[in-house]
């Protein structure tokens, strides 16, 4: 049994039996999908693992084979039952592979770096495969959920439009709004921090405001600042201001009394203490706000575009795409937004690693 846990044994059994069942059902149509048939045969053969030691990489290879076979066999008319069995068996093999892989990593038989990254990638890819197979196999109307291949085709075909939307929404609205909102939050936090009275008054209101649906001010901002990017940037400023304020004020208290006493014994002025001790100590809190705001800003700008915009922009494209039932274009726009948001977040996280290199969470390599 080559050191399989009970859970893994059950998974292996389920995968192999479903494969054997699919083989039995699929025999009459053997010629139609040779790769699927091959997968079923190998899956049934994997029952041999109860007598022979199977490498975990064989499970991975079986999962890959099932994905390739399924997608290759898809366009052939109505989906027969054994196709769905192949999907379930393929999923079970992928899961078994991931289970054994993570067990091997934990036991120290495989290196953490590299192979550890493999697991989430496999999960994402299998999600895409299931999405593709289910939408095309079950004839899900493209209005509801287009398959990933159609979204990709649309993405490639519409690059100029998507680029124009990206420039309008991200470069013109999000970045200036993000910069102004975060900077204003930082400056106000430092000002508030000087006066205990102001701090006692502003902080409850700041905490309160950051829990409120600030995104609702979008229609007001469109009325005040017009339809173009200025109103979107204003929404982003309002949304990013309060998280920054709350986090920075908390961070400015992070330096301990002993460290502040040391600065006092050095006869450091208020500004010296602020620049050399308290702001650096607040770094992790400030970056926390910067990371929260990086995704908030994009969302705010896109939602604000629902309340009126020139005929360009991601929010505009999404709302008109829904109206014209061009859902694949909408999903292409979602993909662009997701990638833009992730890259923005990753940039902030990278800068954080460089700036707050001394913090335990960064030194532990888990930031």
């Amino acid at each position: 049994m080559a050191g399989l846990s009970y859970f893994q044994l059950y998974l292996a059994l389920v995968a192999a039996l479903i494969g054997a069942l699919g083989f039995a059902l699929g025999v009459p149509t053997l010629g139609a999908a040779p790769l699927v048939t091959l997968f079923f045969a190998l899956a049934a053969l994997s029952l041999l693992r109860f007598w022979l030691p199977f490498s975990l990489w064989l499970d991975g290879a079986l999962a890959v084979l099932s994905a390739v076979a399924l997608i290759e066999a898809l366009p052939a008319g109505p989906t027969p039952i054994h196709h769905w069995l192949a999907l379930i068996a393929g999923w079970a093999f992928a899961w078994l592979f991931v289970e054994r892989l993570s067990a091997a990593i934990r036991a120290g038989r495989l290196p953490e770096t590299g192979t550890g990254l493999l697991i989430p990638i496999i999960f994402g890819l299998s999600l895409l495969v299931v999405w593709e197979v289910v939408t095309r196999g079950a004839n899900v109307p493209p209005v509801l959920l287009p398959p990933p291949s159609a979204i990709w085709a649309r993405l490639v075909a519409e690059v100029p439009t998507l680029w124009a939307d990206f420039v309008q929404t991200f470069i013109k609205s999000v970045l200036p709004g993000y910069a102004i909102g975060c900077l204003a939050g930082l400056v106000v936090a430092i000002a508030v921090d000087r006066s205990p009275f102001l701090k006692a008054g502003v902080m409850p209101i700041g905490n309160f405001m950051s829990a409120l649906p600030i995104i609702g001010i979008a229609p007001i901002m469109v009325m005040w600042f017009g339809f173009d990017w200025q109103s979107k940037a204003a929404v982003v400023v309002a949304m990013t201001f309060f998280p920054m304020l709350v986090n920075t004020v908390a961070g400015l208290n992070a330096a301990s009394g002993m460290e502040r006493d040391l600065m006092t014994t050095y006869a450091a002025s208020y500004w010296q203490t602020l620049m050399k001790l308290r702001l650096p100590a607040a770094g992790p809190f400030i970056f926390n706000a910067l990371k929260i705001n990086s995704t908030l800003a994009l969302i705010g700008a896109i939602v604000a575009e629902f309340f009126g915009t020139p005929v360009v922009g991601m929010g505009f494209r999404i709302s008109t795409g829904v109206g014209r039932l061009a859902i694949d274009l909408v999903w292409a726009e979602i993909a662009v937004a997701a990638v833009a948001g992730s890259v923005f977040y990753a940039c902030v996280a990278l800068i954080e690693r460089g700036v707050t290199f001394w913090h335990p969470s960064v030194r532990g390599g888990r930031a």
Partner: protein
């Protein structure tokens, strides 16, 4: 009381600033109105009164917003489609349903993550990545898509709220369920506790403070999700619809009133959860 005075001072300052800004921002339109009516050299206080009483002001004065809230809630029948209480209830029900879904999903995912190494490694990165999809921005599309297959009304909006609110719950619960220290787990082992007992008697109570902190974040963004999801379906009602129709018709007072109701709802929900947190923590024997 030491906290009340500073907060009151700031609130008063904001209200005073607001009245001042209302004069400033409504002035151009009021001047044009007065010019047309042939009024010249209006005294400043009268002019200020005029700017605070416009029908469609650029910035409504606070008392106008309060008046609108009063007219649209207490002075109307609850079931009237013009009543903010009616629209508020639509939004609140979607929020609560989505919040319950989201919390259940978040707790389930967190339990799976702490008990299974493979799901920890494969799920966690994608749960984080799932939040970079601006679901809030595409919520109206999701609602229309679900509507085209016959799913309308409360559930699509609740699904948006769920998608937004499960994330803080997962993150908080994973942290909370892992918060018992090794020494406590060792004690459970010396008692010969099975995994089930370790979960219910140690991990679950230890996770409660984390769960409540996450739920407070979750319910606030679940309300945002419900409001935004309403933007697409004008016949369904809700605070989001009031915002949108107010925006189309230039009814600024209506927009502000809907905003304040939404803000009040969010504050009330968070306060209720805060109360529940105190009660549960007391029952769990946490130090006050």
């Amino acid at each position: 009381m030491t906290r009340v005075i500073p907060v009151l001072t700031i609130v008063l300052a904001i209200v005073a600033f607001w009245y001042g800004m209302a004069i400033h921002m409504n002035a151009p339109w009021q001047e044009r109105l007065n010019e047309r009516a042939g009024l010249e050299s209006v005294a400043f206080m009268d002019f200020a009164q005029q700017t605070w009483a416009q029908d469609k002001p650029v910035l409504p004065a606070p008392h106008q917003v309060v008046g609108e809230i009063w007219n649209a809630t207490a002075a109307l029948e609850l079931t009237s489609r013009r009543s903010l209480a009616y629209h508020g209830w639509i939004t609140l029900s979607a929020t609560l349903l989505g919040f319950v879904f989201g919390t259940a999903l978040g707790v389930a995912l967190a339990v799976a993550i702490i008990h299974n190494d493979a799901s920890d490694r494969s799920l966690m990165p994608w749960i984080i990545a799932s939040q970079t999809i601006p679901i809030l921005a595409v919520a109206p599309m999701v609602v229309v898509g679900l509507g085209s297959v016959g799913m309308t009304g409360l559930v699509p909006k609740a699904l948006i709220s769920m998608y937004l609110s499960f994330f803080p719950v997962v993150v908080g619960m994973v942290k909370g369920l892992r918060s018992p220290e090794a020494i406590q787990l060792d004690l459970m082992r010396t008692y010969d506790a099975n995994p089930w007992q370790v979960f219910w008697k140690l991990r679950w109570p230890a996770a409660m403070p984390f769960l409540f902190a996450s739920m407070k974040v979750g319910i606030a963004i679940s309300l945002i999700g419900a409001v935004v999801a309403e933007l697409s379906n004008a016949s369904g009602g809700g605070l989001g619809v009031r915002l949108l129709t107010g925006s189309y018709n230039g009814q600024t007072i209506q927009i502000w009133a809907a905003l304040f109701i939404a803000a009040g709802l969010a504050a009330a929900l968070v306060a209720i959860l805060g109360g529940a947190e105190k009660w549960v923590n007391g029952r769990m024997g946490a130090r006050a």
